[in-house]
Amino acid sequence: MARVVVDVMLKPEILDPQGQAVQRALPRLGFDGIVDVRQGKRFEIELDGPADEAALAKAREMAEKLLANTVIEEFTVAFDPALTGAATTGTAATTPLTAVHGAAADSASSDSASSDSASSDSASADAMADSMRLAGAEQGSD
């Protein structure tokens, strides 16, 4: 079983009135130093079969066809380590990410080191999710 997380955000050039409303509300609650807030959508998709490149490709196709409107939105596709990583530990979790790196044109390669360190020790699931998203995320095209 693989759980794929698809994050959908409005493109940076598209005005986000919802994010702006949240941004204006936060200082009223005492949070200062807010520079910007943008609001998006997160989809968690469970697939049978292994957490491999084919699973990511399937999720990417779903995102392009339905989950995101690529006229106004961009998306990232990544495995959820809370399910995929915990069940398989280390090697299996990093292998598909390597495959993603191979396919991604713009992914920051310097981030891949953090993915390895996060999965080799007992980092929290949140830290793992962050680093793996950095490492494994792919930007939706146009």
Binding site: P17, V71, I72
Partner: protein, 228 residues
Amino acid sequence: MSPRIGVVTFPGSQDDQDALRAVALVGAGPVPLWHRDPELHDVDAVILPGGFSYGDYLRAGAIARFSPVMESVIAGARDGLPVLGICNGFQVLCESHLLPGALIRNGGMLFINRDERLRVESDRTAWTRDYAVGQEIVIPIKNGEGRYTADERTLDQLEAEGRVIARYLDNPNGSARDIAGIANAAGNVVGLMPHPEHAVEALTGPYPGPATDGLPFFTSILKQLVAA
């Protein structure tokens, strides 16, 4: 036999009955179409009405775009079938890529429900022949996600090809270049955020008037179909 104009009902459509009524008022044959039925029942034109198809889940129009009836509407539109998308129908047309761009949340977040002054910009589409270019009309709007957006290149192309069919005189929601409606290159597919079907009778149209400025959308298509 008078031309048959179909109006699609999706789960969550609200203005399908008003659209059917407007079709009947101008003397065309109103034909209810059902979202799950891919058959278009020999209609000569199709209206996608306003409302909240599939609850606007995911994005307005995103689920409706994949309904069985839309497969037939999309195929027909590519072959020249006249299609008018009103409000939610406009959103469905953009999600279907029959029209470029997208409709996103209004600037200021408000759901806006009011009579809106528009300027007609094209009399060259199947749905706007009975207007004069530059004519100012009053048509109600009622939407929360009516802000038209597209990249600059697309906007320039729409302008250059005369495909902006109506603009707001008092832009209510931040729509790019005051755009209220657009057409495809062939002119058979038109999307419009304001509701012409709510401006066809003195009793229920904008008050104190003009109350029936929406009628020419329906007489335009009727004349074109009769002439064909």
